[in-house]
Structures are given as structure tokens and as C-alpha cells.
Symmetry: C2
Subunit: 277 residues, 2 copies
């Protein structure tokens, strides 16, 4: 574990750490915001944020305005990179596969299987690391954007009892049914669609043993809404399964961090209520 950045921010500190990951077999980086309470040694709840395609650990910590909300609610916020990286790691020239596009799954197919184990990383290794090395309690929530919204929903649905709350911005809710997801799941898991269901929020809500309410914000001017995101598929699945969902279509908003920043305060309030309420 090595700290590579540390900045005072809203009375706490925004840091970036790198470490050798046992899940991915590579160096991984994550951003972590430590509110003043954590700096004083008080154990604080943790909100995990999963970013979207092409992002690193930098996008969320520089563009979302999260620190103000984290400081106000006394939350630690952890934002990992979106995939393993490096010359020894498989890649693809497209922006939506390989490095920067891990989709938060455990890959089973060549050439991805050796390093692309992002689900193990975000659900197991990273929380264990955070709770060992920082003043973090075991109270966890999870959120994310686009590919990371998919990651947040799937990670929470796959681990009943692990998270107190979950939310997403512009998530890929049905990767089995849209181009981004079909390309990634075929590459990482193979052509057998039966293996995809365990990584698809629309499929997972059908058999969810825990009825963790889902909070989703989606801009109605999002260029990826009709082709890649299709939140109505999750709405129909939740309705059929009796799974609680709050899906808010935000008029005029696009897919950018300007959208995330506009509603992030409300997501923090939602998570803080579950984590500290």
C-alpha cells in the first residue's frame, strides 16, 4: 500500500492509494475520501463508487463534487479504477472492452480470465483492505455510473446483507440485452448466455432474496438512453418481482458528470440515512 496523492478537502482529505491486488494480479489504484471524523480516528461508514467506461479512479474524485457531501454526512468514499491495467494485461483497442472497461465481473475466458476479476476486487478485496487500513466501519453502501451503475446494482444484488443501500446514475440495467453488455459479457464470460444472468441486474432482481430498494437517476437527454441503458427493462422486472425501485427520469440531463454532480447530494442523503440513520 502506497499513498500517491493527498489533498486537504472540505475539512477531510482526498487521497489516492496504489497496492498489489491479489484479485487482479496487478497494481490497482483507488481514491478514498476521509472526512474529518475519520481523520480524528472515528470509524465511519463507507460509500463505494464504481465509475463508467474509460474512467480511472480520477474521474469521480475530480468531477463529481462528492467531497462536500461526504464531509457533511461523515462518510468515507472509495472510488476504484475500472479495470486492471498494464502492458502485461490483455486489452482491446475499443473503448468498451478491456482496460478501462472491466464491467465488474470475474472473467472466465481467455485472454481476460487471469486479470479481469473486478467483482472479487470491488466486493471482497477492496472492502477488506479499506476496513483494515482506514478507520472504516463495516457499514457499506454502493453506487456508480453507467457501467459502474451496472456494477453497483449487480454487486449489491449478488451479496445480500453486504450493503445497507444501493443507487445508480444512468446504469446499464440489462447488459444481456444491449450492445455494450453483449460485447463485454461475450468476451469475458463466453457465448453461453446462461452464464450472463448472474451479472445482469434485470435477471438478478427476479430471484433476489433481499429486497434492497434501488434508487436510480437517469437523464432523459442521455445519448445512450435508448440504445444501451433502457431503464424500463429494470422497471418491468422490479414490478414483476415486487422489488422496490425508485427510478427518476431527470428532464434535460445527459450522461455526463454535470448530471451526476446535480443529483449526487440526494444520493448521499439516501445512503447516509441507511448508513447512519
Amino acid at each position: 500500500m502506497e499513498r500517491v496523492e493527498s489533498h486537504a478537502s472540505f475539512g477531510g482529505r482526498q487521497e489516492v492509494w496504489r497496492h498489489a491486488s491479489t484479485s487482479t494480479g496487478t497494481e490497482m489504484r483507488f481514491g478514498i475520501y476521509l472526512p474529518a471524523q475519520a481523520l480524528a480516528g472515528e470509524k465511519c461508514p463507507v460509500l463505494y463508487w464504481l465509475s463508467g467506461l474509460t474512467c480511472t479512479e480520477q474521474n469521480f474524485i475530480t468531477k463529481a463534487g462528492a467531497q462536500e457531501h461526504a464531509a457533511r454526512h461523515g462518510l468515507i468514499v472509495v472510488a476504484p479504477d475500472t479495470s486492471p491495467r498494464g502492458e502485461a494485461v490483455a486489452n482491446d483497442p475499443a473503448y468498451d472492452l478491456g482496460q478501462g472497461a472491466g464491467f465488474y465481473v470475474n472473467a472466465t475466458q481467455a485472454p481476460w480470465a487471469p486479470h479481469f476479476r473486478m467483482q472479487d476486487y470491488v466486493a471482497q478485496e477492496l472492502p477488506a483492505l479499506v476496513e483494515q487500513h482506514f478507520p472504516a466501519s463495516a457499514a457499506r453502501s454502493i453506487s456508480g455510473h453507467s457501467m459502474g451503475g451496472h456494477g453497483a446494482l449487480v454487486t449489491a444484488l449478488r451479496h445480500p446483507g453486504r450493503y445497507r443501500s444501493v443507487s445508480a446514475f444512468s446504469p446499464i440495467v440489462a447488459p444481456s440485452q444491449v450492445p455494450w453488455g453483449q460485447k463485454a459479457l461475450t468476451a469475458y464470460l463466453g457465448a453461453d448466455r446462461a452464464s450472463w444472468a448472474a451479472w445482469d441486474a434485470v435477471e438478478l432482481v427476479k430471484g433476489a432474496s433481499e429486497r434492497l430498494p434501488l434508487l436510480i437517476d437517469q437523464g432523459d437527454a442521455d445519448e445512450f438512453l435508448a440504445g444501451q441503458l433502457q431503464p424500463h427493462l429494470l422497471q418491468a422486472a422490479c414490478h414483476a418481482a415486487g422489488h422496490p425501485l425508485t427510478l427518476r427520469l431527470q428532464p434535460g440531463y445527459d450522461h455526463s458528470y454535470y448530471f451526476i454532480a446535480s443529483f449526487l447530494g440526494e444520493h448521499f442523503a439516501h445512503h447516509a440515512q441507511a448508513l447512519r440513520g
Copy 2:
């Protein structure tokens, strides 16, 4: 005038425009946040933001979290690029001279004089453009960071009555006395130091006809504090001249946008009080 970006943000819109500048003889870009009141056609006051070395119009609009504050106070926020740019424009390989480092002066020396007229641009052309093309009132304030903090102080001090309020983060207060400033002023204005005084806040407060209060935040862990910024020089000049100054040393904060974001809300409140109070 062509709009090159437009994003819904906190009930308003964050836009980026480009236009042919008569001041610089180049294309210039600026970011503009239009709060909901402006979108509804109400004339709103304008806060101008001048960025620091290496920045474009993007840094402030993506990293500072300004939109939330602008929306709350009903302010338009205009953030121009930091210099003329392009293959036909003089440049220097160093990060602190030439493109991205205009220092908000009107250059008199070759090869800079033809295009590096950033003072005319930010003080005259840009406000006229904004007040003509957007629902902007003539109530103006100005702020900035580092080189842009210098720009904000100097522009306000050179134009008594033009701005309702001025503030700065980590400004270069005495360019005549520090390496960044000495290099830039020598290049843009020539070796005769007499010509520098009109572009140096410490010199300008000595003869200021308007006692516009200066609000400055400075991190005490800023790596440039001792070598380039030296706010005590402005403190001494203001004390000697009887010029009102609020200089706040913020413990633990560095030179980054994490610092700016942490205190930007207080600067917006200061400017909103002057613009709408």
C-alpha cells in the same frame, strides 16, 4: 459565436462557446453557466473566473463544483481560456510562458504583442459579448486562481467601478517580485520594470482610487506559497495603503482544485452579497 457544449446542470445549463476574438485575433473559448433564472430570461449578475497556468476553459467548469453555488445564488459564471492558442500564435515550450500562460496582460513585446492581449479580452471584449448575447446584467464580479488570482486582482484594481467585488485563491500578488511573474512580465512587457507596475496587485493597491475589499484564500501547505505567491507582500501593501483585505490562511490546503472547491461556496456568498444583496 458557436456553442460547442451544453449540459443540464443544477437546474441550469453549463455551456462552452467559441468565437473570433477581436482582442487576440484568434478563436477564443469560454465556459458559461446559465442558472435557471437566466434560462427563463431574467437578467442575472455575472461572476468572471480567471484560471491558472496550463488551464483551459475546462478546468474550472469540470473541477470546482461552481454550478451548485451559481444555481443557488442565481449567478451567471463565465470562465475563459487562459491565453490565445493555435499554430499561428507564439508559444514557448515551458508551461509558464506563452499558450496557457497569458497572465491577463496586454503584451507589448515581440513575438507576443500581436495576440497576447488577454487584459483587453477579459476586461472589455468578453463582458461586452456576454452582456450582448446572454441574459446578463451589467453587475460584475471577478475571481480566479493562482495566475488567474493575479488576473482577477489586477483587472479589478485597473478598472475602478467596473466590478462589485473581487476575490482570489492562491494568487500571484507580486509578479514583479517572484520568478513566475518576472519571467512572464519580462517576456510580455520587456525588461523595463517601470512598465510592470500597472500589472502588479501590490503596486496597484498603493494608488487605488477605489477601496474595493479584497478577499483571498491561501492554503498554508501550498507548494508555491513561499516561492511564487507570498501573500504577505500584499498584506503589507494593503496595510500601508489602508486598502481593505481579508487574507485567510487555510491550514493543510494545497494549490489544487480540491482547495478551491472547499472554499468556493464562501466566495460565491461574498460575490452574491455584492451582486444581489
